[in-house]
């Protein structure tokens, strides 16, 4: 009798879990987070299929700029890039050059967080590496530490662009900013702006959820991360690199 009860309970739990998994099927990522904030059970990650990324396409960059009010100062040395396109060519020149977007890799062992003297850089429970602009003093240690050059200092005063997104605060002069995986969208149950704008090369989701498309694809196809030798465990994976 006890066994039956246990089975029933397990069956109900399974059905409930299946329902939860299927219900948000329309979305690329799972349901919005609970009101108690970021979940430690999740680990957001990205898979970029380099073979589908054409060198002339800047849809992800444009979408990111628009969504997050990322400014340009008409000075290549001081312009801010949350995501940028990089052309790669093997040294022997045998393979064709590939174009891939590079962004913050949201490492599991982020050197930027380790060096931050004010704990402004931090990892959220769900693995997103963020900068708390209220605490950042603009020392730029994190910029030196990041092997992906994913961070930029705001050198000049900024203002909200005319067609800017009022939901994302602009960053004041003297703080370091970088890709946030669009946390404000993640918390609302939406994928990052670059993923939404990309015509099919980017896949985003919860790496801890074995049923998510990204976790399945990572199991199926060979993927790489940039500078795996550093042991930072980056969460942005590349396919076909």
């Amino acid at each position: 009798m006890t066994v039956m009860d246990r089975r029933k309970v397990l069956g109900l739990g399974g059905a409930l879990a299946a329902g939860v998994a299927l219900a948000p099927g329309l979305h690329l990522i799972a349901a919005p987070q609970a009101p108690d904030g970021a979940s430690a059970g999740r680990r957001w990650g990205m898979l970029i299929d380099v073979t589908k990324c054409s060198s002339g396409c800047t849809a992800c960059i444009d979408a990111c700029r628009k969504e997050n009010n990322v400014p340009l100062f008409n000075n290549p040395q001081r312009d801010i890039h949350w995501i940028r396109k990089v052309e790669l060519q093997d040294k022997a020149g045998r393979k064709p050059a590939v174009s891939l977007p590079v962004l913050c890799n949201h490492c599991e062992n982020p050197p930027c967080v380790h060096v931050c003297p004010t704990e402004a850089s931090f990892i959220r429970k769900d693995g997103v590496v963020l900068v708390d602009m209220h605490r950042c003093i603009g020392c730029r240690y994190c910029m030196i530490a990041c092997p992906y050059k994913a961070r930029s200092l705001v050198y000049h005063p900024t203002s909200l662009p005319k067609n800017g997104n009022p939901d994302v605060p602009i960053r004041g002069k003297g703080v370091v900013e970088k890709c946030t995986f669009c946390v404000h969208r993640l918390d609302a149950g939406r994928p990052p702006a670059c993923v939404e704008a990309c015509p099919g090369a980017m896949l985003f989701g919860d790496l801890n959820d074995p049923g998510s498309p990204i976790a399945k694809r990572l199991k199926e196809v060979p993927t790489q991360v940039i500078r795996a030798d550093l042991g930072l465990k980056p969460q942005v994976h590349y396919q076909g690199l």
Binding site: Q33, G37, R124, G172
Partner: protein
């Protein structure tokens, strides 16, 4: 104003409200000397009230201008002399700058009326402590990912629709310069 209180607090929401204004400081240990009952916003001047009360309010409202910040001086008669001397000058200045009795009748500053029916906390509480609300929820939002908390900055906009008519007026009067609006968008 004479009863000076030494106060140590960690949690801005767990404190004695009767103790007057406390400097904001979420997550940090704050130790400030605060003056009891000297809240200019809690005790605005009333039109038609006695001169004694009015003087009392002015003394409380502008202790630094009158050189009455030192409790010892207040206890002795020096500060009183100073206040008597300065009172006439201050009142004249106030009348000249703020339109006299009309400004006094409506309180120190006239703020835009809120759209909604009720705020999260009583007005008196919000006047003194809204910054702690915002700081607390900013920590939660940025670092923990708790969005759309009731005390979120974004929620203020729905009732206090104009920054210039509401926030800035009081900030200018109190001569505080919060830098929230340098980055966060709030309708003018």
């Amino acid at each position: 104003m004479q009863n000076l209180i030494e106060m140590t607090t960690n949690d801005p929401f767990q404190r004695d409200e009767s103790a007057g204004r406390i400097a904001p400081g979420v997550g940090f240990r704050t130790r400030r000397r605060v003056t009891g009952g000297s809240d200019v916003f809690a005790n605005p001047p009333k039109a038609g009230s006695s001169g004694l009360t009015r003087r009392g309010w002015l003394e409380q409202a502008t202790p630094s201008k009158l050189g009455a910040t030192d409790p010892e001086r207040i206890k002795g008669g020096e500060a009183v002399k100073l206040t008597r001397f300065g009172w006439g000058f201050l009142l004249a200045a106030l009348l000249a700058t703020s339109g006299g009795a009309t400004a006094l009748a409506g309180g120190p500053v006239e703020l835009q009326k809120a759209k909604g029916e009720a705020c999260l906390k009583p007005t008196d509480w919000m006047r003194r402590n809204h910054m702690d609300f915002l700081k607390h929820s900013r920590e939660d939002t940025v670092r923990e990912g708790v969005r759309n908390a009731k005390e979120s900055f974004l929620n203020c906009k729905s009732c206090h629709v104009s920054r210039e008519q509401f926030c800035d007026r009081c900030h200018n009067y109190a001569s505080v310069k919060p830098d929230c609006f340098e980055c966060h968008n709030y309708p003018k």
